[in-house]
């Protein structure tokens, strides 16, 4: 279900539709591809309307590439024929284009293999070559990396993006993983319940979330609650300006765990509940003294205080976001 979504992609841009499953991101992508018909609204490609009430240009006439989560390679055709499948023109030219693309995704030596003989990563590369072969203006990718081994993923993402840049193809990608979106997108479109919540460059969406849920989608958050008094919310970790909120309104202060400062000159004191070393960083959980809220801190390196130790905690206003309280 998609309620309302308006978005635009520039030539050569990589746009990520990001959201939890069931938020309508795949449906949006499928409507742009033309395999699903919207009830209302328009889709334009290069300014030409391809979908509008009473108008439906079929997918095969839209010049869009489509890549699926399960790759949807044709199991009865070998790799070279899979890639050459969507191409027109004389056979040698088609074969040359197919082999050129296979070369660039590093799959040329598998040209005669059949899809079921390939690993997931190899299938993904063939699917990419196949979707790029007809030189689509827009490449639509539905969770293209989620079927892959975690450790392969980063490399394949970068290769994919590089190849798409070389071809100058605009990309619209759907994913439910914020890390993936941050890594690949020029702009992120955050969706929830069939609507677009926020659009912007990865750092904008991450650093200036529009609400608590938008912030919580990218990482765990620390939540402090209070009421607006004199245009600010007073919390155990200090007072935070609450622009746009009415006097006396219930508000919440949202921050990310890496912004909780330990051992500075903060006013509040937190007792360590537990600490975990995660490799690159450590996660320390506090409870504010006086039975206050629990807070998490993400600290670089190995920081493993013993449970029960007490630290001063601080939070800078520029790292906090104040919203009206929800739920």
């Amino acid at each position: 279900m998609v309620e309302a979504a308006t978005l635009s992609i520039g030539a050569g841009e990589c746009l990520c539709l990001l959201g939890p499953s069931g938020c309508g991101k795949s449906t949006t992508l499928r409507m742009i591809a033309g395999v699903e018909r919207p009830d209302a609204g328009e889709v334009r490609l290069d300014g030409v309307r391809v979908s509008a009430p009473g108008l439906h240009v079929p997918p095969e006439a839209r010049s869009v590439g489509l890549m699926f989560q399960d790759f949807a390679l044709f199991p009865h055709l070998n790799v070279a024929r899979n890639v050459a499948f969507g191409l027109d023109g004389p056979r040698p030219a088609r074969h040359a284009r197919a082999m050129d693309l296979l070369e660039r995704v590093g799959m040329a030596r598998f040209a005669a293999a059949f899809p079921h003989e390939l690993s997931g990563g190899e299938q993904q590369r063939v699917a990419l070559a196949r979707a790029l072969a007809p030189r689509p203006r827009l490449m639509l990718m539905d969770e293209p990396f989620s079927g892959l081994d975690n450790r392969l993923r980063d490399g394949i993402r970068d290769q994919t993006l590089a190849l798409l840049r070389e071809e100058g193809t605009a990309v619209l990608m759907v994913t439910h993983e914020p890390e993936e979106a941050m890594r690949m997108a020029d702009r992120i479109v955050l969706m929830r319940a069939g609507r677009i919540v926020q659009t912007g460059a990865p750092h904008e969406v991450y650093n200036r979330p529009v609400d608590r849920a938008a912030a919580a989608f990218f990482s765990d958050i620390n939540l402090l609650q209070g009421r607006v008094r004199n245009g600010a919310v007073a919390t155990p970790l200090g007072s935070f300006a609450a622009p746009g909120l009415a006097e006396g309104e219930a508000a919440e202060v949202v921050s990310r765990p890496q912004h909780l400062e330990i051992g500075g000159h903060g006013a509040a004191r937190g007792r360590v509940l537990r600490a975990r070393f995660l490799g690159r960083e450590s996660l320390v959980e506090f409870v504010l003294e006086g039975d206050g809220p629990r807070l998490q801190a993400m600290v670089p390196g190995m920081v493993l205080p013993a449970p029960g130790e007490v630290f001063a905690l601080g939070l800078r206003p520029e790292n906090c976001h104040v919203f009206a309280r929800t739920g």
Partner: protein, 350 residues
Amino acid sequence: MGSFPRRLRPASLPALIVSLAALLLCLPVAAGALRWVVADAVWPWDPAALCAERAGICWPFITEKAGLIFFGTYPHDLLWRPCMASLLLCALAVLTGLWLSGRGTRPGAAGLALLWAAVLAAALVLLGGGVWGMVPVGSLRWNGLPVLLLLSLGSVALAFPLGVLLALAREQDRNRLTAWLAACYIETARGVPMLTVLFTGIFVLPLMLPSGSALPPVAAVLVALILFHAAYFAEDIRGGLRALPRGQAEAAQALGLSRRSRLGEVLLPQAIRRALPSIVNSVIGAYKDTSLVVVVGIHDLTATARMAFSDPAWRAQALEGYFVIGLWFFMSCAFLSMIGRRLQRREAGQ
């Protein structure tokens, strides 16, 4: 029982009891059969008169009446023609089966269709004659094996493409009326017994033709069989189409393929491949059902066997006659089942 081969070792006491009981039941049957086939047999070189004395199989009857059992009343001096036709049709069936199950280099769909058309045409010419100096032989005298093969292979060959069209017509969503008509046709044909269809073919079909034009019974039966089996093939193929992941059609669509090539090059080849085991099932059914044509007066193998033992000199040899055709059906169906099993294994392996 330590030295007993593992797969013969009974799993438990009840299993042992059941096995022994089954063995006890089978033994007399097996002994009787063995006595009939070997101990009491009258061998081909024995004098025919011996058959009246011994209770076993009478080979002199079979050797003398082989021509009649397999080719019926086809003119005796022209027997090489039904012989050749049968051989060609058998070879076609065997080759196709082996190709489909992955032996040898497989010709493309077009090559296969061409080969089938050529062999069926050659069989028709051989049986009917009338060209290249071959004496014409009326279709009423095409009896026994060649007519069985011609009807079963001919009906499969034509019912299959018709079934593909019906399946596509029923699955498409562009024209509701066509889909509805196809569904009606398929459900009706599958809901009617084969015998009704055969009688319709023999008695009603000729009435529907312009008066004066005579439709030989073989042709009428062939049309009836084609229309009947097409419905079953249609459902097999529709099952294959349904089993395809939605992404296949969408991927082909996004690659800019026309409807026709999406169907012909992406969806149908995969659907048919997936449906092959059930298609082979339908083919076996169609083949065995073909012997039902005897009730509408086509002299297939069962009818010719009866001709052979209705000779006053061989009245007592009904069992031998049915034994021979039983053996033929057993072997040919075993071959078809083998192809089916191989296909299923290959599907499972992929």
